[in-house]
């Protein structure tokens, strides 16, 4: 049997400072930086999860680039997202409220088949906990979301939640162009703009 690689677009959502970029940095580079200020200057990051000998899932992870701060996230961000990680900070009830808003937004704007994981980050700060596991879990169950607590700082639960998402994604060969994300990864259906003009321009042009 030949190895299969699937690629999916994953978007991160959540209030500013809940640790979106840190979570990705931990997952992608296994690093943590206490004094990270804002989002990394990258279009998106990628990381691969191996499910078994034959199957790997490559995530194309989109960070908000701070555009969530003033109600300014572009629809393009949700476009063709296969999965979303919505973060809250377990030490702040307000961030769970904000997470609920993002989830409603996803349910309204994103593809109905999107896999959503609700993630309580900063589990290393359990002493200052404001959101109980029960409360968040109950909400996730009601909405049919995956749920976990993570700590980008210690790494606890981080790779586990991404692996769990990978397992939940439909690993049947996605139809080539039906929905960006996966199809897009394997080989874009669209035109390649880097392609140079054909070698004999006069030949194909209006050669009346």
């Amino acid at each position: 049997m030949s190895a299969k690689q699937f690629q999916f677009k994953l978007v991160l959502l959540g209030e500013s400072a809940v640790g979106k970029s840190s979570l990705v940095l931990r997952f992608v580079k296994d690093q943590f930086d206490d004094y990270r200020e804002s989002t990394i200057g990258a279009a998106f990051l990628t990381q691969t999860v191996t499910l078994d000998d034959q199957t790997t899932v490559k995530f194309e992870i989109w960070d908000t680039a701070g555009q969530e701060r003033y109600k300014s996230l572009a629809p393009m961000y949700y476009r063709n997202a296969n999965c979303a990680v919505v973060l809250y900070d377990i030490t702040s009830s307000a961030t769970l409220e904000k997470a609920r808003t993002w989830i409603r937004e996803l349910q309204r704007q994103a593809d109905p088949s999107i896999v959503i994981a609700l993630c309580g980050n900063k589990s290393d700060l359990a002493a200052r906990r404001q959101v109980t596991e029960e409360e968040a879990k109950k909400y996730a169950e009601e909405e049919g979301l995956m749920w976990a607590e993570t700590s980008a700082k210690s790494g606890e639960g981080v790779s586990e939640i991404f692996t769990a998402i990978a397992k939940k994604l439909p690993l049947t060969a996605p139809p080539a162009s039906a929905r960006g994300g996966a199809g897009r990864a394997a080989g874009r259906a669209g035109l390649d703009l880097n392609k140079q003009a054909s070698t004999q321009p006069g030949q194909d042009a209006c050669n009346c």
């Binding site: 992608v28 580079k29 804002s38 989002t39 200057g41 990258a42 279009a43 998106f44 990051l45 990628t46 680039a65 701070g66 555009q67 701060r69 003033y70 109600k71 300014s72 572009a74 629809p75 393009m76 961000y77 476009r79 704007q109 960006g180 897009r184 874009r188 259906a189 669209g190 035109l191 703009l193 880097n194 392609k195 003009a197 054909s198 004999q200 321009p201 006069g202 030949q203 194909d204 042009a205 209006c206 050669n207 009346c208």
Partner: protein, 449 residues
């Protein structure tokens, strides 16, 4: 909002978003604001709710058009010409990774009461009814002359000086009929009127080469188009800007452009708060466009009007081989006008509307007091029009280059069928703001494995 910025950008149209993205990449601290709660300004693509809110605020969105979110209706009818400057910027800035493009299926021209395809292959050219047999031979010689032109090789010039001789001289040299001249000047060089004929031939030559090389790039037509509508373009450049530290604020009413006693820019006031910056860039609507100046400085002037009719159809445009997307040019001479009428159509193939719906925009430069009548020759080609939204939009241009007061204003989106003039505006504003020419640098590859 107590920080100070290098540049505040007002309006998230394509021009402003490209500038914002390039300035952020350059290391400028940018604050980008828009009064609307969506990206794109005048170059946005709207869903049905937004479309009706804009044009028919008192009317419910009809349910028979399908799901709201399937729609991305462009406000401005433009395509990307494949070998043009916008393509270069898209590639150089790498925003292509956020976008997917498809071809526009065909380019057509209206002549003697019928629609004909602009040939995209030699085979189509041979079969084309646009020219008689002898005229085809003359045209072939003309195109061979253009394709063979080398500035440094006088033998290829055949006695023509592109910088001195006007286009009429060139047409006459090859004995091209008026109908062929119309075809070359309007369907290929994409001139909107006939003023080019009496001007030096060089720009026309450049435009024809742009057209033919664009046609050669992917075939079918010289145009490409982003899936989900043109509104994806400003969004992708906005993301580029944000990734390089640009701050975005939508849904912000701008109450005042604050200047000091010398008239120099200080900051902008929104919700009673003033944010300071060294420079401001914005579209004309943020600088008094459409308002009568009440003692304030006149910063923009009207430079003509464009009438645009967004038409929702439930069928492809008749006599166009059921093309899923197209451009039809109605040259001015065909309908006794001074300016061409354009039809641009896209459909669900480009993810801009529900299945079996087609969105066509008929547009032209306004010449009379009754612009609605002026677009009729275009509307008449569409068959039954399910729904129609007509706008007459003034085109604005800045009155001053901006260097003296640090206020840099962009131009409205004109009547041309592609984005080349938008890129010219970007280059112009960049030069005014930065004091040097825009040089595109390739970004480092930042997809990290």
């Amino acid at each position: 909002m107590d920080e100070e910025y290098d540049v505040i950008v007002l309006g998230t149209g394509l021009t402003e978003c490209i500038l914002s993205g390039l300035l952020s990449v350059e290391g400028k601290k940018v604050l980008h604001m828009d009064r609307n709660d969506y990206y794109g300004g005048d170059s946005a693509s709207l869903n049905l709710t937004q479309l009706y809110r804009k044009f028919r605020p008192d009317q419910e969105v009809p349910t028979e058009l399908g799901r709201d979110r399937d729609y991305a209706v462009d406000l401005v009818p433009k395509f990307i010409i494949a070998s043009g400057e916008l393509t270069k910027i898209l590639v150089h800035t790498d925003v292509t990774r956020y976008l997917e493009f498809k071809q526009i299926a065909g380019s057509f021209v209206y002549r003697d009461g019928r629609i004909s395809k602009v040939p995209s292959t030699e085979m189509e050219a041979v079969r084309s009814p646009l020219m008689g047999l002898f005229e085809k031979r003359r045209a072939k010689k003309f195109f061979e002359f253009l394709q063979g032109w080398k500035d440094e090789d006088p033998a290829t010039h055949q006695g023509i000086n592109l910088d001195k001789d006007n286009m009429r001289t060139v047409y006459e040299k090859f004995g091209l009929e008026p109908g062929t001249q119309d075809f070359v000047g309007h369907a290929m060089a994409l001139y909107l009127d006939d003023d080019y004929i009496t001007k030096p031939a060089r720009p026309t030559y450049d435009r024809i080469i742009l057209y033919t090389s664009s046609m050669a790039r992917y075939g079918k037509s010289p145009y490409i188009y982003p899936l989900y509508g043109l509104g994806e373009l400003p969004q992708s450049f906005a993301r580029l800007s944000a990734i390089y530290g640009g701050t975005y604020m939508l849904d912000k009413q701008i109450e005042e452009i604050v200047t000091d006693s010398d008239g120099k820019f200080v900051g902008v006031t929104s919700a009673g708060e003033t944010v300071k910056a060294k420079q401001v860039i914005g579209d004309p609507s943020y600088f008094g466009a459409g308002n009568t100046a009440e003692g304030g400085k006149v910063r923009v002037v009207e430079d003509g009007k464009v009438v645009r009719a967004i038409c929702i159809l439930k069928h492809p445009i008749p006599n166009t081989e059921d093309s899923d997307s197209l451009q039809i040019i109605i040259p001015q001479n065909q309908v006794n006008r001074r300016n061409d009428i354009y039809i641009a159509m896209v459909s669900s193939t480009h993810n801009v509307c529900a299945k079996d719906v087609y969105v066509a925009i008929v547009s032209t430069i306004v010449e009379t007091n009754n612009p609605h009548l002026e677009i009729e020759p275009g509307l008449n080609l569409l068959g039954v029009i399910h729904e129609k939204f007509v706008t007459v939009t003034p085109l604005y241009a800045p009155t001053s280059p901006g260097a003296s007061d640090n206020i840099f204003i962009t131009r409205s989106y004109d009547a041309t069928s592609h984005f080349e003039t938008v890129v010219e505006d970007v280059q112009d504003v960049w030069k005014r703001v930065m004091g040097s020419d825009l040089v595109l640098k390739k970004r480092e590859v930042e997809v990290q494995e």
